[in-house]
Symmetry: C2
Subunit: 201 residues, 2 copies
DNA sequence: CAGATTATTTGTCGATCGATAAAAAATGGA
DNA sequence: TCCATTTTTTATCGATCGACAAATAATCTG
């Protein structure tokens, strides 16, 4: 273990790359943009991160481990499906509209339209979105088994519904719809779940 | 009025451009792509349509006048807000998942992440989405005034809710969620409106 | 100190981006 | 028939794309 020590903070550079990709997407952020945003020469970026694509994947990982991890956190920490869903949506609204931060969801908007040669990235993000949908559906199925929701509840339809809403929230946030209106919209959306709650003793 | 007659079908070329932009987005579709898709040299494209951006705007216009015009059509043709909303969502699902056609909504996905120099296009599409939201909210407000919906209904929240869902449906369709599941999800979403319907004599 | 290792600097690579100039070809009108 | 007009053909433009090679500099080990 030797060699010249790195002169820049790799984690800090990764954060800056995350924000750039989150704001403008993968193809919307050029290497020249990254050079000026990170403040280091392109050869240093390649030495530290491998390629633009590698950097992007690492940036998405950082996003999902922090700001974008609200779904995972809600699923892990909330005791009921009702609370999982509401917390997930409320935190999504907050994250998507945070002042001074990139708007919307990085996983939804960073690679939606891109050239053929980057289809792998597009598919990679799509798989992340589908996985999130699956985890929501599974949690709702669990709630049906537990008796939290009525036995005849269509958990998949309900899960698809909240997943679609989550993705729609991202588009709305990017369009500049204010946080308060998004919260009001979530309130409307929670009725679908409340209508399926079982009467408990 | 003279000059050499055009040798290709302009409308047909515009349709092909629409499909290309719809599939891969504005920046994801290069001039080289357009040349091979339309089957004509780039100089001819510029002569007929002005620029890549002009061609894109014209292609979006074509989309909104046909496949993408379901919201306008539903608003103009259906007698009740209930029927407007359901027809709009059902037709959206059909349009977004049509076999052999580009998936999702062109207005939602053709310019979500792009470079700084194309921010005008991004903002232009965002304005289209916001305008659609406004027209939905206005229709729901009208329904409250008409007595179709309960007097204490928050029409804006409800309109924002259906707009968000519409945008989410586009993302889901692009992710390959099958049509049937999207219809089931729409069924769940219709409950929010039904809960606001007034009891009529 | 010398040698191995890693980072930084500097310059540049071939490919592709959107766009156009100039010349040739095909029409209608006088 | 000849001219004005428009399209097509052909070739190419400068800018930018992502990526890297080679030389230099800074560290640890022995």
């Amino acid at each position: 273990m030797a060699g010249r020590p790195r002169e820049f903070d790799r984690d800090q550079a990764l954060e800056k790359a995350q924000d750039a990709f989150w704001t403008r997407g993968y193809e919307g952020t050029s290497m020249a943009d990254l050079v000026s945003t990170l403040g280091i020469a392109s050869a240093r970026i390649y030495a530290a991160f491998g390629s633009k694509e590698d950097l992007f994947r690492e940036a998405v990982g950082l996003y999902e481990a922090n700001e974008g991890g609200f779904a995972t956190r809600a699923l892990a920490q909330e005791p009921t499906a009702r609370r999982v869903i509401e917390r997930m949506l409320r935190e999504a609204v907050e994250t998507y509209t945070r002042p001074g931060r990139p708007q919307g969801c990085m996983v939804v908007s960073a690679a939606t339209n891109c050239a053929v040669e980057n289809d792998r990235l597009l598919e990679w993000l799509a798989e992340h979105r589908r996985a999130r949908t699956v985890s929501i559906v599974e949690r709702l199925n669990e709630a049906v088994r537990d008796g939290e929701l009525k036995p005849d509840t269509d958990a998949r339809a309900l899960g698809d519904y909240y997943a679609a809403l989550l993705h729609g929230l991202s588009v709305q946030a990017r369009d500049g719809v204010p946080k308060e209106r998004l919260h009001d919209l979530v309130t409307v959306a929670m009725q679908a779940l409340d209508a399926r709650r079982a009467e408990r003793s």
